[in-house]
């Protein structure tokens, strides 16, 4: 995989078609130079990541509640692979239970986003995430900063 392009490589893995639609709409309206690749299941995502021809992504938005392969499993599997050590993984889930936050935090996710119920808010979140200084964020990461509060 190569990451030479200036384009931001964004991956989204979500089984919900509406959410995928809102997500791509929001990104489109943000007018950021990006390449969004969308997966409907964890299995598809893992297939893609294992393929050496594909671009190395900058950031992955990962839903947790998905059939077949749950988000948490994908997260664990990705983090086991050394080449994805610096891949930013943002959890993107409807739920925000203590358990989910705890599990994803301890398994190496970078940030936890609870899906908003307002499109403007979604855009705000996307804007924040895509302009975040990840090195700075990851250095000061703790459970308080892990859960995104906008």
């Amino acid at each position: 995989m190569d990451r030479s392009q200036s384009q931001m490589q964004i991956l989204l893995c979500d089984d919900d078609a509406d959410d995928r639609f809102f997500f791509s709409e929001a990104i489109k309206e943000l007018k950021i130079d990006n390449a969004l690749t969308v997966f409907e299941s964890g299995l598809d995502l893992m297939d893609y990541l294992k393929h050496p021809e594909n671009h190395l992504p900058h950031i992955l938005f990962l839903d947790l509640n998905m059939p077949c392969k749950m988000g948490l499993e994908c997260l664990k599997e990705i983090r086991e692979d050394a080449q994805f050590r610096n891949l930013v993984i943002a959890i993107y889930s409807t739920s925000a239970t203590e358990q989910d936050i705890e599990d994803t935090f301890s398994n190496g996710a970078n940030i936890y986003i609870q899906k908003p119920s307002d499109f403007k808010k979604l855009k705000k979140i996307m804007h924040h995430i895509l302009n975040l200084n990840w090195q700075y964020h990851t250095a000061g990461l703790n459970k308080e900063t892990f859960f995104l509060n906008i």
Partner: protein, 589 residues
Amino acid sequence: MGFLKKIDHIKLLKIALGISIFSIGYLLTMFYFQMNELENNKIEIEKYSKADIELLHFKSIVEEDSYRTQSQILNQSISSNTIDFNAISNAAFIKNAASFEGIEPKYAQKQNFIKELIADYIAFKKELFAGKSNSTVSNYNTINANLLLNINELSADLESKINTSNDAYLQMLENSKTSGFLIALISLTIFVLAYVKMNEDLMKLQKINDDVSFINQTLQNAEMVAGFGSWKLNTVENRFIISDNFYRLLGTEPNSFTPSLDKIMSFVHPEDRSRVLQLHEDSFNKNETTTIIYRYLLEDGTVRHMISVGKFLNNSKGELVKIGVNQDITELMKKTKELEDKNQRLISTNSELESFNNIVSHDLQEPLRKIQMFISRIESKDFVASSNEATITYFDKIKSAASRMQNLMNDLVDFTRTVKGDRIFEQVDLNVLFEEITEDLILIIEEKQAIILIDQLPTILGTKFQIQQLFVNLMSNALKYVKLGIVPKIIVKLEEFSQDFVNDKNISSEEYYKITVTDNGIGFEQKHADKIFMLFKRLQTDQSYKGTGLGLAICKKIVDNNNGFIKAVGVPDQGSVFTVYLPKNINLS
């Protein structure tokens, strides 16, 4: 014996007995020696008496002889025929000196001297017979007088000796009488002491007997009340003894059968019998304490659950005895079973609640969120410009309904979460907590330009997310229930107090922090003060105040979970004061 009783009289009795027995032993020994001496003394007196009698007898022979001789001398008719030499020389005193044997030497010497004088006497007499002359007569008279003097002297000596011995004998007799009296007296004392001791022992034994029968009676009553029975198995005599209540546990009358292992085993539930018998037999291998839980199947068909604890002991004869207690635990088993069932139901209810919680928090929120997302999409696409007034009104109503539903679901999730109560107590600095809360609520605070005054607050022990939820709810209520056009003013204070009375309970400042949240909102009628903490009880029917009826119920739940108290005081159109008491020390739970 009054004074003895005050001291340890049994000990005193023992000491007295010991001294008496020792004295009587000493006296008896003394008495024995005294008797021996008395005996010796008696023999000696007899001996001296005998010697004296012989001497006196001899004296009378000599006197008779000298008398005759004197009269012959006077009558001038001396003839050898009239002189009886034989009588003198054959006298026991001369011939048989046995009576003088063992007599003190000084007497024997005198005896010998007398014997010598006798020889002289006979010689002079012969001389006298040979031819009477004045000198011979005079010589004879001299020796005669000398002989008699010596005999008298010896006799006097002997008598004096006898008298001395006799006095000694009498003295000794007196002493032995005293000893005998003392022996009799001390023996009597021993008898009396032994009697008293025996009496004491008997009384003690009687008291012990009374105690034992009392304890027995108590045990029997206790067995009846507590539903247990006791048993004893003498392993040497193979004898089984069971208590009255054991018979009753078996559903029979006391003493209605002769207990034996087989007989008792016949009451054990057939399914348990071999196991119980095995355990019983195994217990003899190591003489270990056994605890067996099993069932009895009584004649009328009822099943009783028993716990039997058996233990090995040695009795006073050194025989191995197995004793045990059986307790009827049928009720306990029933209750435990009920409790287990209830627990099981509770667990399943809880897990249902959990899945309900999951449905609310995820599956139900999902479509609602979509609705809200689409609403926000429509809004942003020049919707207002292209629609008529009625549509816009309807659309706003859809929006507010969706938002109400979302609030309700969020509150429901929060409520079930507080019910579930994963209570991890930690140090919570309320100052930091309130900074976070005001940050969370900054939008509405800024919107209403609310004035928030927060006192210096303590650090408490509690479940952080719950404590946060509690004060978020109280603060947002204070911000929410305010008349239009009035600037909300909220004061959070740590109150000083000594003792308060809440929910029929005295609350002291030593154990609790008292924190008040005071607002200038719409308040409420004080008569409704208790209702506001109930689930889905809303005092406000005015739709302009959005509420789910869950917020204060959650607060109440959280305060309960943290072992605290909450109360509310309201004045309509003036404001309300919510008081929260939180424990200073976690031990209160």
